[in-house]
């Protein structure tokens, strides 16, 4: 096992090798400016702690400034021929805004969704719960129509849809609400190790309330073992929660089989479908799903809204998180936001309408991207290739550190894992659960493809990744050793 600091070497190398012109390398050396290539542009938004924030306008300003310096500096022109050139797009006659390829974090709002929402911000501002006047009636009608659209995607009844603030709230509602309601007789919850943070944290907080939680492991493909799940069910188990599509590796769990097992043992089955809703075929009746969390901003809808599907027959009871006016069947009090609800409804309607088109388009681009990326040596696809949502691709590039690759890829918006964990430099717990070692977990990158991704962008990304992985590997001492045929596992690294 080699330490993390060794793997991260490539990031600091550019300043030593002198690849950047001397002006820049001295600036990089002089301070903790490893993240900013233009000190002047970054200073404008510098915070007290010396952390700088970059906005897209800063990137553009910085690129322009850098281009100016380069065009006046003969030394810069000479040394300008590096593989990292594309990382700092400049003066090439193209724009500067990065390609968006992080569709698992969030998706762009569809213009058709925005068009639906705008009238609820301009003229139709009534409270949908006011039933004494026309302003309330008109928004209430639209809200109920949106509910129909949301329900139709999963073959549910509109009355079974509860609007919440997002999938995180839905997950919390279920993980806390269901066990609390049945706490007198049931004391056990089952979930998996690859769930989203909000499910894991909610489950952990239930341990403090005296519940027992079983975290099921996954195999190297990221799939759970249904037999193991069945064996884990006890007479006092009240809830099983398994996500449908994983947010980091895109693996699809065998939801239908899990639903059957849960029905057989009379245990409630909750599934977190934030990444799956509208993207893979889901039928709550066919799959025996009792509760389902849905998010709007993953399906080109507005942010700040989601839904929870709660089965009515047989009725699932849960304790609400919020007390109040008793809206949404008393499960989620608080005034609904008609602009968000209608936007969500329109987004759901479009997911259903465009399902085949989107599916074919995304699969085609996904196959192209996968074959392009895997043509590199030592690049592996994480997660099962067969049970896989094509719009989420997680690839490990051995001997390159993910973070340094992302630094070299400023022109592409990617992430090395979920948005909530990418702030900390912790390796992904999902990849850990798959049995990947630290080094491989650190060198993995997630690519998300959506409705608005173009073929041109995919071509650009393939080319950029191939160039820069090669470049970073050439800087890496580990890669050199691998090329010489040294088995890295046989080396004993000294401690720091």
């Amino acid at each position: 096992m080699f330490g993390r600091s060794l793997v991260r070497l490539p990031r600091v190398v550019p300043s030593n090798v002198g690849l950047r012109p001397s002006v820049w390398s001295s600036k990089i050396r002089s301070g903790n400016l490893s993240r900013c290539y233009s000190a002047a542009a970054a200073e404008a938004v510098k915070l007290d702690e010396g952390i700088s924030i970059e906005t897209h306008t800063d990137i553009q300003a910085a690129a322009k400034e850098q281009a100016n310096v380069r065009s006046n500096d003969s030394e810069a022109i000479k040394s300008g021929n590096t593989a990292l050139n594309h990382a700092y797009q400049e003066n090439t006659g193209f724009g500067t805004r990065p390609i968006y390829l992080d569709m698992q974090a969030t998706t762009p709002t569809d213009p058709r969704v925005l068009d639906t929402m705008l009238k609820y911000y301009t003229g139709l501002y009534g409270n949908p719960h006011s039933n004494t006047h026309a302003y309330g009636w008109e928004t209430n009608k639209s809200v109920e129509e949106a509910r129909e659209h949301v329900a139709k995607v999963i073959n549910a009844n509109a009355k079974e849809i509860i609007f919440t603030s997002g999938a995180t709230e839905s997950n919390n509602m279920v993980l806390k609400g269901v066990p609390r309601f049945y706490k007198k007789t049931k004391k056990h919850i089952i979930t998996t190790r690859t769930e989203h943070k909000c499910v894991l944290e909610a489950a952990r907080s239930m341990i403090n309330e005296g519940f027992e939680v079983t975290f099921l492991g996954v195999d190297s493909n990221g799939l759970i073992d249904v037999n193991e799940l069945e064996n884990a069910i006890r007479p006092d188990t009240c809830l099983v929660s398994v996500m449908a599509v994983n947010n980091e590796i895109g693996v699809i769990q065998p939801i239908k089989q899990i639903g059957e097992i849960c029905k057989k043992h009379k245990v409630y089955f909750h599934t977190d479908c934030a990444q799956a809703y509208g993207k893979i075929p889901i039928d709550v009746n066919d799959m025996n799903i009792d509760l389902m969390s849905i998010s709007s901003h993953k399906i080109y809808g507005p942010k700040g809204i989601g839904a929870l599907y709660v089965r009515r027959r047989p009725r699932i009871r849960l304790e609400p998180l919020l007390s109040g006016g008793g809206q949404e069947r008393g499960l989620r009090s608080g005034t609904l936001a008609p602009p968000l609800v209608t936007g969500f409804g329109e987004a759901a309607r479009l997911m259903l309408q465009e399902f085949d088109n989107d599916q074919n388009y995304i699969s085609r681009l996904s196959n192209k991207l996968i074959s392009g990326l895997l043509s590199l040596d030592h690049a592996t696809l994480n997660g099962s290739p067969n049970h896989h949502y094509p719009g989420c691709i997680n690839v490990s590039f051995a001997y390159v550190e993910g973070e340094s690759l992302l630094m070299a890829l400023r022109d592409i918006a990617l992430s090395s894992g979920s948005a909530c964990t990418s702030a900390s430099l912790e390796p992904s717990y999902v990849l850990h659960a798959l049995g990947k070692d630290d080094a491989l977990a650190h060198s993995s990158i997630r690519f998300g493809i959506g409705r608005f991704t173009t073929e041109e962008e995919v071509d650009y990304v393939i080319k950029a990744i191939q160039e820069r992985v090669k470049f970073l590997r050439e800087l890496s001492p580990l890669w050199e050793m691998v090329q010489e045929g040294i088995d890295l596992d046989s080396i004993e690294w000294s401690g720091h």
Partner: protein, 96 residues
């Protein structure tokens, strides 16, 4: 609705032209490409449609969508952002 006459070939083609024109007016690269692709494929798929009721329905539906497209293209021009790295900043540079 039955009183509305069936759209002629010319009317449908004129509508298609409007779709392409308005899609092209999106400032946002991804939206522009998407609506161009979508307009082309939708009209192509329904080119062989013979049933008059279906044709009339689709025509009316498309007219509504054109309204959305027109409004959103204008909004896209009101709030503009930097061009993406795959977009040429100058149209003339495209061939270079």
């Amino acid at each position: 609705m039955s009183s509305v006459p069936v759209p002629t070939r010319r009317q449908v083609l004129a509508l298609y032209k409007q779709f392409i024109k308005n899609s092209n007016q999106f400032n946002n690269y991804n939206f522009r490409q998407y609506f161009l692709r979508k307009s082309r494929s939708t009209f192509k798929e329904s080119a062989d449609l013979k049933d008059t009721v279906q044709v009339t329905n689709m025509f009316n539906e498309a007219k509504k969508e054109l309204g959305i497209l027109k409004r959103q293209a204008v909004i896209s021009q009101m709030y503009t952002f930097d061009k993406t790295v795959v977009e040429p900043t100058l149209k003339l540079n495209h061939t270079q």
